[in-house]
């Protein structure tokens, strides 16, 4: 037990140190070295890996709720997208008179849709601080309200997954509508500046990359602190035996609500860092499949390992970039197979394969994921 904790601590520290090193090195390699140098990092790669780091942050946030508390949320893609939209709205307001219609206040699509005044939802987004607050608050409040209702009524297991998916789907439909005032089908794009710096410039990209790396490192440290605390122990207890935790006297719904809200805010930050690096946010980010894909990143790396989740996100997305380029039709086969292989053969993911305990006593193949799952195995519906 102690060795396992030490190993997990060492893993987190290792990941944090490498991320900080990346945050310092990559901008140097991009900016200080001439393009002819062998060590020069091209700017498109910086943006690409910056994107992976945002996905990794999303995966860590999902691992907190799924890996440690057993809540399989299919709504984290939506929290990610909401954070992204908050950032996108700030970036839209920064365009100012440089848009095609040169309206100082209204973004292009609003002029195009004949809107006369800025909708209330857009007020204040010209201030960076307000936009950043919204990046946290919008996903946070949605998760809080949703979680408050769902956990109090003891909606759990597959039912919770399904209604989080319904929430994501409803948001997808809503953001596709033009009269929502968020750019409809086309979303928000053509960004120019972020806090006064050109979003296309190499230096800005390098800084955004570093910020993503640092955000991921901070998230890993914070999540590690949460899961080793007493609060984290209760979360694991809830995951493994929810009713037992409740009978022992813990207010299960409060624990779930806190971690769900925190995790949604983390996903929102990931979305906010993602948008300036890819230069667009549109409703397709709300696709329910995106949320499920995020779950598989966590499963590939190893659920309940934090670092594994981040690693899984980077690896799967790297594979996606490579395969969609090299063999376009193979990617969906590969992704589908990944879902099946990981859930059946590697329930602990990549880090599970590297686990030092595995060498001594290999885990039983048919071991259920949790105590309650074992009970479920016998009585799946009769609960």
């Amino acid at each position: 037990m102690l060795t396992a904790r030490l190993a997990s601590h060492r893993r987190t520290m290792g990941a944090v140190i490498s991320l900080v090193a990346l945050a310092i090195l990559v901008p140097l390699l991009l900016l200080a070295l001439p393009e002819s140098s062998a060590l020069h990092v091209p700017s498109y790669l910086v943006a690409l890996f910056g994107k992976y780091l945002c996905f990794a942050l999303l995966a860590v946030s999902l691992d907190l709720v799924w890996g440690y508390c057993g809540i399989l949320s299919l709504g984290h893609g939506a929290f990610f997208a909401l954070g992204g939209y908050a950032m996108g709205m700030y970036l839209m307001r920064q365009i100012g008179t440089r848009g095609s219609y040169a309206d100082p206040i209204l973004p292009d699509f609003m002029v195009f849709l004949n809107m006369k005044a800025l909708p209330v939802t857009w007020w204040g987004f010209n201030h960076f601080a307000y936009a950043m607050l919204m990046v946290l608050l919008v996903p946070g409040i949605l998760a809080f309200v949703f979680g408050f209702l769902a956990f109090r009524s003891r909606v759990n297991g597959v039912y919770l997954s399904i209604i989080t998916q319904a929430m994501t789907y409803a948001l997808l439909l809503a953001f596709f509508r033009n009269d929502m005032g968020f750019g409809g089908n086309n979303g928000l794009t053509d960004f120019k500046d972020i806090v006064g710096f050109n979003v296309q410039a190499d230096a800005t990209r390098a800084v955004l990359f570093s910020l993503s790396a640092l955000a991921l490192a901070t998230a890993l440290v914070a999540s590690q602190a949460i899961v080793v605390s007493k609060f984290g122990k209760v979360l694991v207890a809830i995951r493994d035996a929810e009713s037992r935790a409740r009978f022992v006297g813990y207010r299960v719904e409060n624990y779930k609500l806190v971690i769900f809200t925190l995790s949604a805010m983390m996903a929102g930050i990931a979305g906010a860092l993602y948008v300036p690096q890819v230069g667009i946010i549109n409703p397709s980010e709300f696709q329910p499949t995106n949320s499920i894909e995020a779950v598989i990143w966590v499963a590939v790396g190893g659920r309940g390992t934090l670092v594994g989740a981040a690693l899984g996100a980077v690896l799967v997305n790297f594979g996606k970039t490579y395969l969609t380029g090299a063999f376009p039709s193979a990617w969906l086969f590969a992704l589908g197979a990944l879902f099946i292989v990981v859930t059946i053969f590697m329930p602990k993911g990549i880090l599970g394969l590297l686990d030092p305990r595995r060498r001594r006593a290999p885990p039983r193949k048919d071991a259920p994921a949790s105590v309650e799952a074992a009970i479920d195995a016998n009585v799946p519906v009769d609960r």
Binding site: L72, R154, A166, M167, L173
Partner: protein
């Protein structure tokens, strides 16, 4: 006009001319009030949008008793049209409900028996639609005389094909994941991606054309209600499938075993039911029913690799709303959601109506986490 009317034999022409004469009299200010009121009554009895326009004109051009009569007639016609409007909405709702029922009923069986959400269920519907396409192609090229029966022939083909694939999936993937419903959800999602891509590779990404047999083409008019035969037969078909499944589950020993496993797996196992086998058969049955749903849906939707995706979330909603372990719940849920959706559409728009339905279900689940018709049982977690 009156002379022509007396000679006319064809009933429909006669009615039209009747109406025209009445409209002329009603509009003629020189005619006597009694004649005009009688004419207004004739026009109002006709009760469609044209009659409404005539009555509007009459009311505007006259005073006193005639005007009062025209206004009364106007009100009566408006009410009648509104009622027909409701009936039309209800019809659209029934039609949507029957589609939802078809898509969801197979899912209800697998979810009910195994507590497992099969994310590849939509792909089973899609495969059923492609089975219809292949059957029809074969018939078109080899036995064109049988074309009108192609859908009937496709039904057993689709059932057998998707049922067999379902049992294969159960044997090779799902049975390794019993007791881990969330992992099953992920694995079956992976499977759905593979099936979609497989169909895309074999048949191409474009829509495939599935023809309608003669008895399913065309529309008919009942009062103010316009009914397409295709939709009509799909409602009949959905209800037939529902009744057949109910009978299978209620009246056969196979159904008895499935119900026993749904209600209490350990007890069923203790009295000698092979629960493994029941799982496999239930999964095959659920998938087979999805396949025959695909036969019906090939008539109203594009047969493309994405066909299943458009139904899967709706099917979940129906099953979760209706509750597990009781097909009546699925029936009530499908028609409630279908009719609710169509009644909201006229004033909320299609997208907003759908969002409202989703939000309604999310809130409903908070109140009744186990759906409309929850299975009662001794439970640690209720």
């Amino acid at each position: 006009m009156t002379a022509a009317l007396a000679k006319e034999k064809d009933m429909r022409v006669k009615t039209m001319m009747d109406l025209a004469t009445a409209a002329l009299i009603a509009l003629k200010t020189s005619a006597s009030d009694a004649d005009r009121i009688a004419a207004i009554k004739t026009v109002a009895a006709h009760g469609d949008r044209e009659a409404l326009a005539v009555l509007d004109q009459v009311a505007a051009a006259s005073t006193g008793a005639v005007k009062a009569e025209a206004d009364a007639g106007h009100a009566a016609v408006t009410t009648k049209l509104a009622l027909w409007g409701y009936a039309q909405n209800a019809w659209y709702g029934l039609s949507l409900g029957s589609v939802l029922l078809l898509a969801a009923i197979g899912l209800a069986i697998t979810f009910g028996v195994m507590g497992v959400i099969n994310m590849a269920h939509g792909e089973m519907v899609m495969l059923g639609a492609y089975a219809t396409f292949m059957t029809q192609e074969l018939i078109r090229t080899r036995y064109p005389a049988l074309f009108d029966y192609s859908l009937l022939i496709a039904l057993p083909v689709a059932f057998a094909m998707t049922g067999a694939i379902g049992m294969l999936i159960e044997r090779t993937i799902i049975r390794f994941l019993y007791g881990r419903p969330l992992e099953t959800l992920l694995a079956t999602f992976g499977l759905s991606l593979i099936l979609q891509q497989l169909v895309r590779t074999i048949f191409g990404a474009n829509n495939r054309e599935v023809g309608a047999p003669a008895f399913m083409a065309g529309t008919t008019q009942i009062g103010g209600l316009s009914i397409t035969y295709g939709r009509f037969w799909i409602i009949i078909f959905a209800v037939t499938v529902f009744i057949a499944l109910q009978m299978l589950l209620r009246l056969t020993s196979f159904g008895l075993r499935i119900r026993a496993v749904t209600q209490n797996r350990r007890m069923a196992s203790a009295i000698g039911i092979n629960t493994n086998r029941a799982d496999g058969l239930a999964f095959g049955l659920g998938s087979g029913v999805a396949g025959i749903a695909g036969v019906a849906l090939s008539q109203i939707d594009n047969v493309s690799p994405n066909l299943g995706q458009s139904y899967i979330i709706d099917s979940f909603m129906v099953v979760v709303f209706g509750g597990v372990g009781n097909l009546w719940g699925t029936l009530v849920a499908a028609f409630t959601l279908g009719i609710g959706n169509k009644f909201m559409e006229p004033f909320a728009g299609a997208v907003l109506a759908k969002i409202a339905i989703l939000v309604f279900i999310i809130l409903f689940i908070q109140k009744r986490p186990r759906g409309l018709f929850a299975l009662k049982g001794r439970a640690v977690e209720a």
